[in-house]
Symmetry: C2
Subunit: 201 residues, 2 copies
DNA sequence: CCTACCGATCGGTAGG
DNA sequence: CCTACCGATCGGTAGG
């Protein structure tokens, strides 16, 4: 066995550990925010030593950045990827929104939408973590806008104000997540009504 | 001087202290959430002993509840009261929304909207604090709904879906607060466009 | 209102 | 990956 093979196996094990730790951190952050993610809590939950986790991520900020990245991958997997094969425009847009509703209704993370929880926590704290969250927010809004533009270009919608529609839809999504957390399940009905108003029933 | 007079003065001083402490706590919570409000931090900021603050509020949860109450009073003062003398219906509704925009644009609290920040923090934490926040949310939405119904009854609006309109407006307000915290000042323009779409320009 | 203290937890480091 | 430790801060209490 070569030195390289040993090193590769070590790197692989490290990557698996990192994945397991950040996946758990995403769940914690959805409930208690990214500041609620602590080395000690993760160590207890996953039966590893605290210093073991610190070796893998060095600082809390790097742990938070890795947690945001894992949340992004899970979100892509749950909401974006399942719609990938649908035609661009209105069909894909409505599928993305239905996937998003399932993502907060199930919910995928125990505290509901990871992005709603952490964006409100970090919006007044400039730095790399807030930048990563803002990037995800911009990417999601750009994805909605792209398919809205496709729909308009294909004549699937009237002469709608696309930028405003994305703002309204994204606003309603975040507000629906909060309402669901408070036990108000009617808000999904309101959300669908709002979406239908904008995109046509 | 009677014993009662001494007692009254003590109670007054206690009430003034409580007010000064919770007013500072509201500012902290707008930035760092209600869990970021700690006895030690308030003691440092206000040059009182930590135990002095603890004597006035006993537990952290009671301090948080008093903080929510002070935020409610300031919000009423800044957003609701200035519109009190305007006629019910569309005029008062638009004034409330403009006052709200000023409240987050100035901003009244250094971290922006107190309710957006704390609701996202507590929506997965059942208990008296979440209940108090949910009550404020319901009160605000009911206020908007009342004036929307007045406007409809007075024929100031078409046959609009009032419940949906309140949901859409409240959603956009919260999303605008986040956008402002991220430095995206264009969102106020989008918000006004969205409101005009619903209420007529 | 205060000083003084409690056990628990925090992020981080030393050293292996 | 580990044990063992650091100083700081947490909520809360004793006792005045």
């Amino acid at each position: 066995m070569s030195v390289t093979a040993i090193s590769d196996r070590r790197l692989q094990r490290g990557a698996r550990s990192r994945q397991a730790i950040t996946r758990r951190a995403v769940d914690i952050a959805s409930l208690d925010g990214l500041d609620g993610v602590s080395f000690g809590r993760l160590a207890d939950d996953l039966d590893i030593s605290k210093a073991g986790i610190q070796t893998l991520f060095r600082t809390k900020e790097q742990l938070q950045l890795a947690t945001v990245e894992t949340a992004r991958l899970v979100f892509l997997d749950e909401v974006v990827a399942p719609a990938r094969d649908l035609p661009s425009g209105l069909v894909r847009l409505r599928a993305l929104l239905e996937n998003w509703i399932a993502y907060v209704e199930r919910p995928v993370f125990p505290g509901g939408c990871f992005w709603t929880a952490t964006m409100a926590e970090f919006d007044s704290h400039p730095g790399p973590v807030r930048d990563a969250l803002a990037r995800q927010r911009a990417d999601w809004q750009a994805l909605l806008l792209r398919h809205l533009h496709s729909a308009i270009a294909a004549g699937e919608l009237g002469n709608i104000d696309a930028e405003l529609a994305v703002f309204q839809i994204d606003s309603m999504l975040n507000n629906t997540n909060i309402a669901l957390r408070l036990g108000n399940h009617d808000s999904v009905r309101l959300l669908r009504r709002g979406i239908d108003n904008l995109l046509g029933s």
